[in-house]
């Protein structure tokens, strides 16, 4: 990795400095009230290096990722603008990249997007003009070559730190590391993984990643989600595609008295982070406290990750 910054984002600087990075996540509201983002921002401020703003996650209509990210910037936080391929063709994608960069967004996460079947508009037409790997490559071409996909020169090149997701627990397992390698070739700078509950499987995947040398080209942040309750753990185990929650973890949550389950969820999350900190090739952690933003700080604190470094 060269000496110059690709985007100059705080997240890039922290990762490049070799410090263990922390990212968080913030879901935009289902309405036009900016106060929801401002309130969440106040809770999240200084608890992580950057914060993902989801893009109509689970295909449910919400305030746009770009505008939510801008509100977050106004509150003094650094956003990671998520963008899915489900809702935009390459014209809209490139246009939104320019717009986002113009408004001060410096990190972007490239995703395929959940199928609209899961959302509140299952009747919608999906786009998928590009896939997530092609989207990564598109941002890289725009940033590093200063060109649009169509070949024309960009005047005012968007400088974005390019992220993507990877789910080591989806099938086929043996393709998951090679698929990450494809994302590296496409030009991704950092990866946030799916929520890690099955640490054994995650270690197996990381070993492949390290053996292939991908961790030397791409920063890998392990995904951590605290269980709020046994019910949530069970729901994630049975109802969320591509999620791997081991039986022993379910039992641990089940055997915890109801009023203590939230605390136990936090303890498990902190234990997971400690394991990730020792794992070769892991550059940081992505804490996804779903509609439980106030816990990001507590988890980071308990894992010894606060205060966040100033770089």
């Amino acid at each position: 990795m060269s000496d110059e910054f690709k985007s100059g984002s705080n997240l890039e600087k922290v990762l490049k400095s070799g410090k263990f990075a922390v990212t968080g996540e913030c879901g935009p509201p289902r309405g036009a009230d900016p106060e929801v983002i401002r309130k969440k921002s106040k809770i999240l401020k200084d608890k992580a290096d950057a914060f993902n703003i989801t893009d109509n996650q689970t295909s449910v209509v919400r305030m746009s990722s770009i505008s939510s990210a801008v509100i977050m910037i106004q509150e003094g936080l650094e956003p990671v603008m998520q963008m899915v391929c489900r809702d935009r063709n390459r014209i809209a994608i490139q246009s939104d990249i320019l717009g986002g960069a113009a408004l001060g967004i410096k990190n972007m996460l490239c995703l395929s997007g959940d199928h609209q079947k899961f959302g509140d508009h299952p009747q919608a037409k999906n786009v998928f003009d590009l896939d997530s790997i092609q989207l990564i490559n598109t941002v890289k071409i725009m940033r590093d070559e200063g060109k649009f996909l169509g070949g024309d020169e960009i005047k005012g090149v968007p400088k974005l730190f390019i992220g993507a997701a990877e789910n080591p627990f989806a099938d086929p397992f043996e393709i998951r590391a090679p698929r990450l390698a494809k994302k590296a070739v496409a030009g991704v700078d950092f990866i946030q993984t799916q929520c890690i509950f099955n640490l054994k499987k995650f270690e197996d995947w990381m070993k492949q990643v390290v053996d292939m040398g991908i961790h030397e080209k791409v920063y890998i942040l392990g995904g951590v989600t605290p269980f709020k309750s046994f019910g949530m753990a069970r729901y994630m185990a049975n109802n969320v595609p591509g999620m791997d929650v081991p039986e022993e973890l379910l039992q641990r949550m089940k055997n915890t008295p109801k009023e203590k389950q939230a605390d136990e969820g936090i303890i498990i999350a902190v234990e997971t982070i400690k394991r990730l900190q020792e794992m070769p090739g892991i550059a940081g952690v992505h804490i996804m406290a779903i509609e439980w933003e106030e816990k990001v700080g507590e988890i980071a604190e308990k894992a010894g990750l606060l205060p966040r470094p100033v770089v």
Binding site: C85, S112, H115, A170, I175
Partner: protein, 222 residues
């Protein structure tokens, strides 16, 4: 072949409101093979319509006819005598057939009795599955003979998304993950190198996105 599915009976009845004499026109092509628009289906639908209208005390006269193909002017021509006798034609052809008929019989309403669903084939009798989305630029060489555009729910070109679980697609446990199938097959063919290179952004001009398509055999145009 083109697969079609009969529209709900009530929807067909509504289209025919106010009509006293129609033709129910089958097609001897794809929709005969997939058992929705051939001679037999014309007979069944016509009987159903007659009975339903008799029950309402509002009888309808129906001429039954099945053309060799409704997407070919040569056969479309053969409906001419029937067309002169009726107020409308209810066609059991695919969308292409209905439109070829409508183009030929300008003054006659042409109504579709089928929903044209997809290009596919039969796994067994009465069981049809989609296989091609007619994107106009076949990629099957790279993907082990299994099409990610038609068979991946997100038409992803560079591998499975994070929702692939035990060989099934995230949208439905009954749906195979196309990329699991592709990778299994590439592996068995010893062609995994075709997966590792990045499939570039697709040129959708050959797809419907480039506007309505045509294919001209110049050697036949003389």
């Amino acid at each position: 072949m083109v697969i079609g599915e009969r529209k709900p009976f009530d929807e067909i009845m509504k289209m025919l409101e106010g009509l006293k004499k129609i033709a129910v026109m089958g097609c001897g092509g794809c929709v005969t093979v997939c058992l929705t628009g051939g001679h037999d289906e014309v007979r069944v639908l016509s009987s159903q319509l007659r009975m339903a209208r008799d029950k309402e005390g509002n009888p309808i006269e129906i001429i039954e006819k099945t053309l060799e193909r409704q997407c070919d002017p040569e056969y479309v021509e053969q409906a001419e005598s029937v067309a002169k006798e009726v107020e409308a034609i209810l066609s059991l052809a695919c969308g292409a057939g209905v439109q070829f008929m409508a183009e030929r019989y300008q003054n006659l309403p042409l109504y579709p009795a089928l929903n044209t669903t997809f290009v596919g084939g039969s796994k067994k009798e009465g069981y049809y599955v989609e296989r091609c989305q007619t994107c106009g630029e076949c990629k099957l060489y790279f993907t082990g003979g299994i099409c990610p555009i038609a068979r991946c729910s997100k038409s992803l070109l560079n591998g499975p998304c994070g929702g692939s679980t035990k060989g099934k697609c995230e949208i439905d446990p009954e749906v195979d993950c196309a990329w699991q199938l592709i990778l299994d097959r590439l592996k068995s063919l010893n062609q995994m190198d075709r997966y590792s290179s990045m499939m570039p952004v697709n040129d959708w001009r050959t797809n419907r996105d480039g506007g309505p398509r045509k294919m001209i055999r110049e050697d036949f145009q003389r």
